[in-house]
Symmetry: C2
Subunit: 573 residues, 2 copies
């Protein structure tokens, strides 16, 4: 047991353990390394009013200069499954100030050697160790949403994996683990694990951001800043990382473009080489597919960062059209059907795999899709957190497709094979569970539905009524180039709707409206009302509207969470 | 009073009055004619289970060879307003078999001459006549949704107008009119009005269509045929007319294309001339913006044809790209912003104005929008009801933009000035009334939201449960090129959702998916259930979904009626 300084509302809280793991121990499992293993320090989570623990989606570990081969875990899945177990068992969360860790040496329990533990690594008998503890988690296996992936830890210490998927390190999960305790690990086999070297080069961030996870860094923009600026200042733009931020040199950076056809053709571009293409700018909001997940989570727990409404920001991106680069690189615009453009970033996961996802080639080659290879953001070079020196910007799509630190583009018959592409950012109906959801047949999300949020007032605010009305401000956005044509607000449960009179938006051709819309509505309230619930809903140029409730759009991953935004405020007349 | 043979479920039922109106009488109002006036016979309405009277949206009158200049009325608006009046007054509908007409000569009422009546034509005192009746409808004026347009009938007989907007001719409206009765018109001034010449050249229609209004002809395809054919046979394709069908000769037909720029350039094309452009086909569903209006109408009455789910069909259209023709005709593809393409058809309204609407030039010039000038439908020349010999096909847009009997295209700085474009096919929030809705600031609908309908079983059906489940089939569709990615059905009020396993759809590039999707779902039901309510909802590739209820998308015009489709069925186990 050790103490961890976790302060509510502070943004970086680490409980780091440093360890060196012998090659012999590592070889017991599927984790191989040639040199020295440095685990990921625990991922801190910040508690705030709306925030739930089931957060960090990033993971990695790596050696000094060498890459480990290890199982790819979806940290989110694990965290969430464990959360559900906790719920089932009615385990109450302890204080956030003191982290009681699992794995203390306990008296009156049998002692097992690592070798004995290693014999229990299949579904019939599945043991793991954590520090001094030995655990039989066989019965937990079916509840592990990562499914087969947990099998990589069979008969091994789970600490290397938990260093990677640091959000396991909470009192709740330690407690759950202890409920499976069967013994102590032999003292000779207990190893210290930790790592903090991976994060030393992280950029300095603006302290106004609301941090959801520190490692990897995921932070939302406070609502009040969303509506203060039509183009979000770079330092306030929400940040979504899966891994540590790679440090890239703009002068040395190269973009490799490979076009797989009857023959394979590869071009390589420095940033200066890209200047041969016409330079353009596109105003586009980027939104995480999980924006507003915290509201869906209130219906029933979902897996993912507990974003409130701050996982969307708006910017003017400068660069060159992806289409132009692809044409130059040999893509036949008449031979696009069923092909894909795979973007690969320089950020690396625990298994040595670079972050990657893809979009359909048809989408990339459509002149009106406005997809950029961007080097600037609001007129400045991309900040490190937003992909310096080069990123894709895929307007209208979930931000995950706008791959940062872009180092290669591959035109292929196949979608990206990556975990992020294949096992994430897909949606299911509310009845699908982690057991029944088939990611292989669910289409990837390439465009986002219409959404909106009230940014001012905030939930719980006390608001002065002026001239019998309250002023309500917020943002609205729709993917796929759809324009926001109307925002309506109700203060009486939908009996009456008040159209936002001011819609601030970029002029853009039909179906090429990639920026967000800021809006202001004046909503009358009765003098006797002391409290009202405000509902906001947007309508886009396809005349799609937001669903009324989250119930029927609920999905295991908590994405596409676009039901009406509802807040309660108190009124002062 | 006269009798009218109106048979339930028969498709053509007319109550025609033929009359000749003297020039002198006509000149009292704003209706001028040089020759002979032929009014439109009354529009029959068909009563079926879901059908409500507030239907026909078409109107016209014309002379033999000459066009009348008259006020443009929105027949729907009038009809609906009157309907609301009726509701207010709790006037009950009488039998459909006998139409009791207004305007009988009544004893004990003062007699007025036409000249005296003509002095009451302004808002302070607004009289009209109908046969022998004189009516002071001043107090009705504010309730007339057509607003100012009613003023054209001030001090005149309303019969010519009602001949045009034939849906006024119902017992309910006659009764309402009689409630404003103040006197009898002098016998010398009573004129007989009628017309049926306009409709003699209407095409022969398939008697499987469900006729909503006979004149103009509006008819939906029965649900069972929607799912029987992926491409709807031409004769079963739903029909939506605003006016009588023009009879055009393919050999003589000319398309005039005018491009207004720094100078005005006009091209004229015969159908053979269009062959110089590459011929293409596009599979596209066309859907009336008012499809499924009857369901929205159940929340609160709306104005428009009471379409059930049959105002959508699917076809393969053959022709040339509008874009190619516009480029040939001098449109600068770099100078499209804010401009419009006005389509004008050969069908003519009461005022001598051709049917017309417009789309943004950006939309027309976008290569992926797939807009056609079509001459064929499922491999056959366009049938007269579908625009023979030439029509626009604007995939993904409300079908109204796919102008039939296309005779001119104008590229202009302005949208179409027509009534249909300016005063219709625009949407408002549920709190907007005909008094408060501002058509000038509401954007035209150029793309349709995601929708679906259960076609089999039908509401009220008795269904055999097989293997514990019921088979449910239907269609789904989304505008703007969005693909249907999922259809979910619930048989327990949304507690569980069953994904349709079979989605029949055309392969198409992303955001260019213009055909509809037919689907089949197997929905388990409990053995004790004798009756279930089925809900269907579709999700499109932008991951927009249908709204749960109609309440919050309700709009005065009853368009974009895309909430969950719900039917009740009885089960036999």
């Amino acid at each position: 047991m050790y103490q961890c300084s976790e302060t509510n509302k502070t943004r970086e809280t680490f409980c780091d353990i440093y360890f060196e793991m012998s090659l012999k121990k590592i070889l017991l499992g599927t984790v191989f390394l040639r040199n020295r293993y440095i685990g990921l320090s625990s991922v801190s989570t910040i508690t705030d009013k709306k925030y739930r623990f089931d957060e960090s989606e990033g993971f990695l570990f790596r050696t000094k200069g060498k890459i480990l081969t290890a199982a790819v875990f979806s940290s989110v899945l694990i965290g969430a499954a464990v959360n559900e177990q906790i719920k089932d068992k009615n385990v109450k969360s302890q204080s956030n100030d003191v982290v009681i860790e699992a794995g203390e040496k306990l008296p009156d329990l049998p002692t097992y050697t690592a070798e004995e533990v290693s014999k229990h690594g299949d579904k019939n008998s599945f043991w793991v160790t954590y520090k001094h503890g030995v655990y039989d988690v066989t019965k937990f296996l079916p509840s592990h949403p990562g499914g087969e992936q947990i099998m990589n830890a069979g008969g091994l210490s789970i600490e290397p994996f938990w260093n990677v998927y640091g959000m396991h390190k909470t009192p709740e999960i330690y407690k759950l683990l202890e409920s499976y305790r069967i013994g102590n690990l032999h003292d000779d086999d207990v190893i210290d694990h930790s790592d903090d070297e991976l994060w030393v080069k992280e950029p300095v961030r603006d302290n106004r951001l609301i941090v959801k996870t520190a490692k990897p860094f995921n932070a939302e923009i406070p609502a009040k800043y969303q509506i203060e600026f039509f183009d979000t200042p770079n330092e306030l733009f929400y940040v979504r990382q899966h891994m540590p931020v790679p440090e890239l040199d703009a002068d040395d950076h190269r973009l490799k473009v490979t076009v797989k056809g009857s023959k394979i053709r590869t071009e390589e571009f420095s940033l200066r080489d890209l200047d041969k293409f016409r330079r353009v700018t596109t105003r586009a909001a980027l939104m995480c597919a999980g924006n507003r997940r915290s509201e869906m989570n209130e219906v029933k727990p979902v897996k993912g960062i507990g974003w409130m409404g701050g996982a969307i920001s708006n910017a003017v991106w400068g660069g060159v059209y992806l289409r132009d680069v692809l044409l130059y690189s040999g893509v036949d615009p008449e031979d696009t059907k069923g092909k894909h453009v795979i973007f690969t970033g320089a950020d690396i996961d625990a298994t040595g795999v670079n972050f990657s996802t893809s979009i359909p080639l048809d989408m990339a080659m459509n002149p009106s899709s406005g997809i950029l290879l961007a080097t600037t953001m609001n007129g400045h070079p991309l900040p490190p957190d937003h992909g310096r020196p080069l990123r894709a910007v895929v307007p209208g799509a979930p931000a995950v497709r706008s791959v940062k630190w872009l180092q290669s583009i591959t035109v292929s018959e196949d979608e990206s094979p990556s975990h992020w592409h294949q096992k994430d950012y897909r949606a299911f109906n509310p009845s699908k569970t982690w057991e029944t959801a088939d990611f292989a047949t669910a289409p990837p999300v390439y465009s986002l539905p219409v959404t909106s949020a009230i940014c001012d007032p905030a939930d719980g605010d006390v608001v002065s009524v002026k001239n019998g009305a309250v002023q309500v401000r917020g943002y609205a956005y729709s993917g796929g180039g759809a324009k926001i044509v109307r925002v309506d607000v109700s203060a009486d449960g939908g009996r009456s709707w008040w159209e936002a009179r001011e819609l601030q938006a970029d002029a853009a051709p039909p179906q090429q409206h990639y920026g967000w819309t800021l809006w202001t509505a004046s909503v009358p309230v009765a003098t006797q009302q002391k409290e009202v619930e405000l509902w906001a809903k947007a309508t886009d140029s396809n005349f799609n509207t937001q669903p009324e409730r989250f119930n029927d759009i609920w999905n295991i991953r908590g994405i596409l969470s676009n039901a009406y935004h509802r807040i309660k405020i108190k009124l002062v007349h």
